[in-house]
Symmetry: C2
Subunit: 103 residues, 2 copies
DNA sequence: TTGATGTTTCTAGATATAGCGATATAATGA
DNA sequence: TCATTATATCGCTATATCTAGAAACATCAA
């Protein structure tokens, strides 16, 4: 399990698009269309669906997701041709606790 | 009481110097020298003391403090020739609660 | 193998932030 | 009033981030 870093998390979430991606992933079935392969809640949401939601280019969306992942806030899973992203709830919980103690 | 904004707080705290200023202000008497006028805990810490702690220029320090204040994370009080900054504990608490609910 | 599709990485220009010195403002005291 | 000290703001350069398009890579199906 990754050790959470407050500063890196703040940097990643200081961008409105990245913040809203993480928030939308709280209730994936409410913000993203169902997928033929892979359940949005269990497996995560594919990059294409997330891109449609944010309205930026595919490459930018991919870069943002990679950044959220480096910060430990999401995980990715490759299945066939798709990459599915979902929240890393354990790390997010850890972050909030850390903030309560150290912020 | 200011309505806390998650994004603005993240932006302000995504900078290592600003983050550490806020953290040092948790225990002012441990991180800053006593002041002739104004108690570091009750009234806050003057800009000059904070500047010495961070090791950046006076102008940069002042700008950073203004940014933390705009984000609602600190308050300032002018007393004589000095401006004293302290944490806005109520807002910080509100922010952490907001993160627990909305992040 | 070839082509189609989803994703990632590379490159580059536009915009934003970092951080300094100089200047302006405010308060104090001689 | 004038000089001094503390802080804030302005103007600037350097660096970082934003974001797109192009190219590369991966997977699958024909």
């Amino acid at each position: 399990m990754m050790r959470m870093n407050i500063l890196e998390a703040f940097k990643a979430l200081g961008n409105p698009t990245r913040l809203s991606i993480l928030q939308n992933l709280r209730e994936p079935e409410k913000h993203f269309p169902p997928q033929d392969e892979g359940d949005v809640t269990i497996d995560g949401v594919c990059v294409g669906s997330i891109q449609e939601g944010v309205g930026l280019s595919q490459s930018t969306t991919s870069t943002y997701l990679a950044s959220l992942q480096r910060a430990g806030l999401v995980t990715s899973k490759r299945m066939g041709g798709w990459t599915y992203y979902k929240r890393n709830e354990a790390n997010i919980k850890k972050l909030i606790e850390l903030l309560g103690r150290e912020l």
